[in-house]
Symmetry: C2
Subunit: 304 residues, 2 copies
């Protein structure tokens, strides 16, 4: 069942200890879509400039991602420049040019109207809420956010949270949003803001699922994959979200077991994302590689 | 099969957001022994002063831990004072009085001679090596160390590593010892220093096992337990080591499956350790609680 995702489609210039890339295809909606496309149909809502052409379009087309909701306007696409030279865990931003994204007014193609799943990638909560309200028929809504909105647009973000079933954020964001250092208490506080299910991403240490099973708080953990080389962490979190929510969207039954598998697929996609720059790894991933990686995660965590 | 452990038996004054305790029973050998005693016989080598009396002795006696190797000398026992007010992940040391520990010259009782397992807790590597060499008949040797020795006594520590089968350290220590930021590469470097098996502890994020199965590098991960209250992190790492090595010592067959279970028991004991101050939780733990917690970890990590 199809997911509609709204978020950024962008160009990233990235420097890491493994090297440098100028203007790779990036953006949260891009990374999310590519990862989710291995599990279900994906439809993108975004805005790009005149620098987004056939080459970029083909990255989506090869994964059969519906790009009719990517609006093309005059000007340049969103551009981000950053580096991970001191730490692979945190990007240092050198430049952010919103460009055409500054005037982003999400338009939902009629063909997207029957989407049962909606992912609100990390953008201005005002826009997240607008898209959420324009798609009242969706069955399950997940979203992401970041420090910038938690501190700078809290009231709007709190409104968005009320309409979310699932929130995926990292440790720092969870602590900041809940104003609580203990992650279990932070999760509880965030769950009371709206999203019944919370996924907290721990970077190289994996991720934690906080939800409720039979009326009781329930937890699940998936580790990060031990990697002897991390080429580029950009998009790892969005790829996690794509694997997680893509798998859920492919399932009829959203049982606790489905959520556990979704966590695995999230970490699987995150582990691939960092192996090459930008979208290079996931755009070229095969189903066989994905299945083999899933088994690697099983062996990494299971007693038998 | 019995473990002999050499290390500190001490008094700790601890302040955490949960409260304050003056002079609780502590020390690496204490925490290790109590945790390991749930799986196998434990024999301690340490030194204490005149302030160590019947009350402290009874904590060991109740867990049937052999204390004939705890030497009593005139003076005061090792004393540490620290707090975790800013972060539960890192202790701030306010005071360290080595006291009788300054002249510690480990003496191994004849009755310990048939121990098949040896744990060298975090003490001066010169002493670790002396005990290792005095017990050439042991079957499996594990050990711990810390930043202080990695930077201040590197040559002596490297000699100790040559005699270890298993090293258990934390992330920071592993990166420092290997002089390598990537944990997989750091693990590989440390394995080439001696210990074929390396356990890297990640605090609240659990621990990673790096070993070799059928000639290939093999990994296993165990998470930390989501806890809504961490009362006192002191001794969590030593309790992990006690659960891990205690379980291995209780097994005839040290298969990869036994190592995986050992990782679980390590994290189980670490999760109990932090629930109360000092040794309070593990000294009063029941086998039923332990088994239930093991099942909690299974549910936390297993798909089915």
């Amino acid at each position: 069942m199809a997911i509609t995702v709204v978020g950024s489609v962008a160009y990233d210039s990235i420097e890491t200890p493994a090297g440098k890339r100028e203007r790779c295809l990036g953006g949260a909606a891009t990374h999310f879509s590519l990862a989710a496309s291995f599990y279900t149909g994906v439809r993108v809502i975004a805005v790009v400039g005149e620098d987004f052409g056939a080459e970029q379009e083909s990255v989506f087309a090869q994964r059969k991602i519906d790009t009719r909701g990517i609006e093309h306007v005059s000007g340049k696409s969103f551009f981000w420049e950053g580096s991970y030279l001191e730490s692979l865990n945190e990007a240092k931003t050198h430049r952010t040019d919103l460009n055409v994204f500054a005037g982003f007014d999400p338009k939902i193609p009629a063909a997207y109207g029957d989407s049962e799943f909606l992912f609100l990638a990390n953008i201005d909560p005002v826009l997240q809420r607008r898209v959420r309200e324009a798609m009242p028929g969706v069955k399950l809504v997940a979203g992401d956010t970041m420090n910038f909105w938690i501190t700078g647009a809290r009231p709007a973000l709190l409104e968005v949270l009320k309409g979310l079933d699932i929130l995926l954020i990292n440790d720092t964001e969870a602590r900041m949003l809940a104003e609580e250092d203990n992650l279990v208490l932070a999760a509880r506080a965030i769950q009371s803001m709206g999203p019944k299910t919370l996924v907290i991403k721990h970077g190289e240490y994996g991720a934690s699922l906080f939800h409720t099973v039979d009326g009781q708080p329930s937890y699940f953990k998936v580790p990060g994959l031990p990697l002897d080389k991390v080429v580029d962490p950009t998009g790892a979190g969005d790829s996690f979200a794509g694997g997680f929510f893509g798998y859920l969207a492919s399932q009829k039954n959203h049982s606790p077991a489905a959520y556990r598998k979704a966590m695995f697929y999230g970490s699987v996609m995150g582990s691939f994302a960092v192996e090459r720059f930008g979208t290079e790894r996931i755009a070229n991933l095969t189903r066989e590689e994905l299945d083999a990686r899933f088994e690697t995660f099983r062996k990494l965590t299971h007693l038998d």
